[in-house]
Structures are given as C-alpha cells and as structure tokens.
C-alpha cells in the first residue's frame, strides 16, 4: 500500500482535528460537575445573604472558598495524567475569584448594592468567557449569555434584582453544567 506525502499530511490533519474534538469533549465532561456545584453554591449564597443580611459578606466568602476547594478536589480526583493535572487554569480562576472577593469586601460599603450583585458574577463569567478562547466555543457562549443576563438584572434594579440574579446566575451555571454533561465524553 503506497501513500503519497499529500495523503499522509491530510490523514495526520484529520487525526489532529478528531483528537482536538475528543480532548474538548473530555474537558466538557470533566467541567460539568464543577459548573453544577458552583450553580448550587451561588443559589445557597443568595439564600444565606437573604436570611442573614448582616453576615452576607462572610457567607459569600465562605461560599467562594468552598467552591474553590470543591473545584480543586474534583479536578484532583479526575486527573489521571500529568497533562490533566495541569492546574494553571484553575489557579487563574481562583486568582480571579480572590481578586473579586477582596474588592467586593473593600467596596460593599461604598457602592450601590445592585452594583455589588453584578460585579463578582460578571468577573467570574468574564473569566469563563476568556477561558473559552482556549477551551472551546461553549464556554464563550456560556460566559456571554451569563454576562448579558447579569447586565439585564443590573439595569432593571429592585424589587426583582436579587431574584433575577439568583435565578439567572444559578440557572446559567446549572444548565451549562447539564449541557456539558450531555455533550462531553467521560473517561
């Protein structure tokens, strides 16, 4: 069987395309649990802030730490190769979450509440959208949809602001996680 260089190059290109899609699908499946977990945590955060408004800052900080810890545990449990154990992306998201948490703490007494409700999730969703440039189109779409929903909530203001934020943010993350689960490939 003789294969000429053009055919060999075309075959190798085909293989690279399929491998890229497969790695994307594996990443999608691995990310789904993380997204669903964050969706539930965000819902809990809003619930706690509503029940104990004076401790809202503390409860959000605890939620963020819990989410970061859960993310590291899920990634650690799933990783089985050196490549998969590359935690740079998770560290980048953790740095962004810490940045948002610190500035939320510094700003919350000085800026309108609606702005506080929009700031941290916008930062997080921006991170997801930017990560999508490397990880796959779905993350770009998810980030854009989430940002649009947060902007709509911010512009409409009270009395539905908090309800809108909890439903749109948790909903985006949970539905996104379910989509990732359905379209990913578990390994």
């Amino acid at each position: 069987m003789a294969i000429d260089p053009a055919e060999a190059a075309s075959s190798l290109k085909d293989i690279a395309v399929v491998e890229q899609r497969a790695h994307e699908a594996i990443f999608y499946a691995g990310s789904s649990t993380i997204f669903i977990m964050w969706g539930l945590l965000v819902a809990c955060g809003y619930g706690l802030a509503e029940l104990y408004p004076s401790r809202a800052m503390t409860s959000w900080l605890a939620i963020t730490l819990l989410g970061c810890l859960g993310t590291f545990l899920i990634v650690g449990a799933r990783a089985d190769t050196r490549e998969a154990r590359d935690l740079r992306l998770i560290w980048a998201m953790a740095a962004m979450a810490a940045f948002g948490a610190v500035w939320s703490y510094l700003l919350y007494l000085h800026v309108p509440r609606a702005l506080m409700y929009a700031f941290q999730p916008s930062l997080f969703l921006l991170g997801i959208m930017m990560a999508g440039f490397w990880l796959g189109r779905f993350f770009v779409v998810l980030g854009c949809v989430g940002l649009a929903l947060v902007a709509i909530g911010f512009l409409q203001g009270e009395p539905w602001l908090r309800l809108w934020m909890v439903v749109s943010q948790s909903g985006t993350l949970i539905l996104g996680g379910i989509w990732l689960h359905r379209h990913g490939v578990a390994r």
Binding site: M1, P5, A8, L12, I15, E19, H23, V185, R187
Partner: protein
C-alpha cells in the same frame, strides 16, 4: 520505517481510531452516539466501520442495557492502540522522508 495499516488508513476508520485513542485512558469506553458526534458519521456508516475494526481486533464493542435502554459502548484494544501508533508513525515517516 513503520508500515501502513490498510484497515486503519481508510478515512472514517482513521477518525474512529483517533477518537478512541484520545479517550482511551484507563481502558475507558465511549458511547456509540458520542463517538458518532465526535467524528461526524452516520449510524450505518459508523456501525459498518466498527464491524471491520472489531473483526481486525482493534476495537471492542460492548452492548448492554442501561435504564432499560440498549447502549453500545466501544473501546480501543491494546492491539488497536499499537496498530494506530504504528500507522501514525508511518504517516509521519512519509512526511519526514525527503523526496528523491
């Protein structure tokens, strides 16, 4: 120099093997529908090529019921992984060999 593998070299079968090899950690299997989506094949086309690869001993096809629904899962065999690696090495050799 490695040798070409005529069974694997066919375009669709090459894509099947590439996808299975990429998701093959811990001998994991992939669902028929997911594999179909990954490589852009139709049901009939994928089924026929999987038959060929299974007869060659390159893939293992498992049929089972999950929540009362039939499910077909496919995984690459050790022989399939070796054959795929050899074929890829052969393709790379062709590109690396200067034309005379």
């Amino acid at each position: 120099m490695s040798e070409a593998n005529e069974i694997i070299h066919q375009s669709m079968r090459l894509r099947i093997m590439a996808a299975l090899n990429a998701v093959a950690a811990k001998n994991a299997a992939i669902e028929f529908t997911r594999l179909k989506a990954l490589i852009g094949a139709t049901d009939g086309n994928l089924g026929a090529h999987l038959d060929t690869l299974e007869k060659a001993g390159f893939v293992v096809v498992e049929k089972r019921f999950e929540a009362r629904k039939p499910q077909t899962r496919i995984r690459i065999s050790a022989a399939g992984r070796r054959a795929f690696a050899n074929h890829v090495a052969y393709l790379r050799d062709i590109l690396a060999t200067p034309l005379t």
